[in-house]
């Protein structure tokens, strides 16, 4: 036995969890490089262009009547849409989790249609149903209502898929306890179920809102680009076509900032939502 402990420094052994030391550094380099070239550099160029003629010009572009109208329109429309989908999305999620009816699995799959379908095709098919020659006998193409319908279409899955897992995980015991204490269906929903769904619903709503703000393809053909039905993204597209790159960039930055704020809110919600979770999962 050794008389005393030999204090040799520990071997600089590579962290053998999956990638040797050199590999990790290289991997990180690749990841950072890829993200920079693909995502960050273009955005930097955008920011650069938007400010290229000075802050004053930036502000002028953003506060022009047309730009303001476009931004307001998309904001208001998105708010209306997420309110609608918050209600209907929750109902649909409820039906998918708690109810049983023939064709349920098909409905479950169909929910993801807006994720899978190209937005321009969405625009096209919405015109067929809601525009001229509509079998419903209405024509809301090229109106503000069309914007709402299109945004509802593309954002429904966000809400449903955010609420669904929470509903599935919900501890039935709580509802049974409430029932044993005398709570009826609606009360149980209001006081027990809904508060537990809130984080998911809020996150889904925020995601839907961010998506709605920037939606382009589905609105393009269906709602058109006339001044009073022009959402921000279409306005930006037009500015590009008429060569006003700085203006387009400026409004883009504002739109981007709004959407980023939404994403930030989502992170906050997620952190708040998990405050009741147990600490360790192992």
């Amino acid at each position: 036995m050794e008389a005393h402990a030999a204090h040799s420094p520990a071997a600089p052994r590579s962290r053998s969890l999956r990638l040797p030391g050199v590999g990790v550094g290289l991997g990180r380099g690749v990841v950072v490089l890829w993200l920079s070239v693909i995502v960050l550099l273009p955005l930097a160029a955008l920011l650069d262009k938007s400010l290229s003629e000075g802050l004053g010009h930036f502000w002028d572009q953003v506060s022009s009547p047309q730009a303001k109208r476009a931004l307001e329109l998309v904001l208001v429309s998105s708010l209306i849409v997420v309110a609608i989908n918050a209600v209907f999305g929750t109902i649909v999620a409820w039906l998918l989790v708690r109810d049983n009816f023939p064709g349920k699995s098909i409905v479950n799959a169909i929910i993801d249609l807006p994720f899978a379908l190209p937005t321009i095709v969405a625009s096209l098919i919405l015109i067929q149903l809601w525009g001229k020659h509509s079998p419903l006998g209405i024509d809301i193409a090229l109106t503000r209502a069309a914007i709402v319908v299109a945004l509802c279409f593309v954002t429904l899955p966000f809400v449903v898929r955010a609420v669904q897992p929470l509903l599935i995980e919900l501890d039935r015991d709580m509802e049974e306890a409430a029932a044993s204490l005398g709570a009826g269906g609606l009360t149980t929903f209001r006081r027990i179920i809904f508060p537990n769904l809130l984080p998911g619903l809020a996150a889904g709503v925020a995601l839907a809102f961010a998506r709605a703000l920037g939606e382009y393809g589905s609105v393009l053909l269906f709602a058109g680009g006339k001044p009073d039905t022009q959402v921000a993204s279409i306005f930006i597209g037009q500015q590009i076509e008429t060569g006003n790159e700085v203006g387009a960039a400026a409004v883009s930055i504002v739109l981007l900032a709004m959407a980023l704020a939404c994403l930030f809110v989502i992170t906050l919600i997620q952190r708040w939502g998990s405050r009741h979770e147990r600490g360790s999962s192992k």
């Binding site: 040799s8 520990a10 052994r13």
Partner: protein, 345 residues
């Protein structure tokens, strides 16, 4: 293949997981690392395997310093508490994994896997998936997998922790038998002192990153180095500065100079063993362990006064056991600090 660890230190942020730890594990022995959560026993085991790096210190396997060797090259068999089964592979593929890596021929792998499945008593389950096995079966598969590559050393990290009590007891006995057959140097980690004492030839008791004492089960029970070891490996009553085992407390009916007076609070029959809870004059609560025969002879009832005498009291604060009520044979080591290694031959 004996194992030595010398001067091991490991920190995780602010937490000192290992604090100048040195142990000796003789070749062919079955040693238990015993201690509560956070004592560092798993960290030590994983450091021997190479799954953790030490900040300072060395690990020697069969005299060779393997501190710089990666896990892959150390030839240690490791069994995890939650089995770490390769879920997407069959039992056969799991057990044969190490052999496949070493590029054995198919026929040779087949033969060896069959042999091992026989050994761990899982014949005929080769084509099942781990999810189709019970916990005990999965752990035996994990053991077969670790043994397949003929490791120099076998390391088990709380191997029975995730299993039911009955399965645990069965696997304990089974592990001991297996060790006798295979004679591979084996170290296993546990927080269950009964398990450690039942299975292992040598025990190393750890606490807060340090080795408190090392020795056979009897050594630790009868000659604990400090209060921690004494209370960890068995039940203990504290009488002032002294510590007495419940079965060393003698209850008598007559008082004399060596006895102390106590009130019998409660008598509980736990099968063969009787537990008598008493309160001394000064309010100290004590419990004694009697056999049924002894209880019957004493004709003890709850609420009565009885007299106590203690034997083999131990004191760890530097002075011999004081004349606490009932102390008869002063004994025990005086200093309870960090016990150094004691080699168990």
């Amino acid at each position: 293949m004996g194992i030595s660890v010398a001067g091991a230190n490991k920190r995780f942020g602010d937490f000192q997981a290992l604090d100048d730890v040195s142990i000796e594990v003789p070749d062919g022995s079955l040693t238990a690392l015993l201690g509560p959560s956070g004592s560092g026993k798993s960290t030590l085991l994983r450091a021997i395997a190479g799954l953790e790096t030490l900040d300072t210190g060395r690990v020697l396997i069969d005299g060779e310093d393997v501190s710089k060797k990666p896990t892959q090259k150390r030839e240690v068999g490791f069994v995890f508490q939650h089995y770490a089964a390769f879920k997407h592979m069959t039992v056969y593929e799991n057990v044969g994994f190490g052999l496949k890596i070493r590029k054995w021929r198919k026929a040779a792998i087949r033969a060896r896997v069959d042999e091992l499945l026989e050994l761990v008593q899982l014949p005929g389950l080769a084509d099942r998936y781990p999810s189709q096995l019970s916990g005990g079966q999965r752990q035996r598969m994990a053991l077969a997998r670790a043994l397949a590559v003929q490791p120099q050393v076998l390391l088990l990290d709380e191997p029975f922790g995730a299993l039911d009590a009955k399965v645990r007891k069965d696997l304990r006995a089974w592990l001991r038998n297996l060790h006798e057959e295979m004679n591979v140097t084996t170290i296993f980690v546990t927080h269950d002192q009964e398990e450690a004492m039942d299975v292992a030839g040598q025990l190393v008791v750890m606490n807060q990153g340090r080795v408190e004492q090392s020795g056979t089960a009897a050594d630790l029970y009868d000659k604990p180095a400090n209060e921690f070891v004494m209370s960890f490996v068995g039940e203990v009553n504290r009488l002032g500065d002294d510590f007495v085992r419940p079965h060393d407390i003698e209850i008598v009916r007559d008082r004399d100079d060596s006895t102390a007076e106590a009130l019998v609070r409660r008598i509980v029959a736990l099968g063969f063993e009787i537990r008598v809870e008493l309160v001394l004059d000064d309010g100290t609560e004590v419990w004694a362990q009697l056999t049924r025969g002894e209880l019957q002879r004493l004709e003890l009832r709850e609420g009565e006064i009885a007299y106590l005498r203690s034997a083999h009291a131990k004191s760890f604060n530097g002075s011999p056991p004081s004349h606490t009520p009932g102390a008869s044979t002063p004994q025990g080591p005086t200093d309870g600090g960090d016990a150094e290694v004691s080699a168990a031959a």
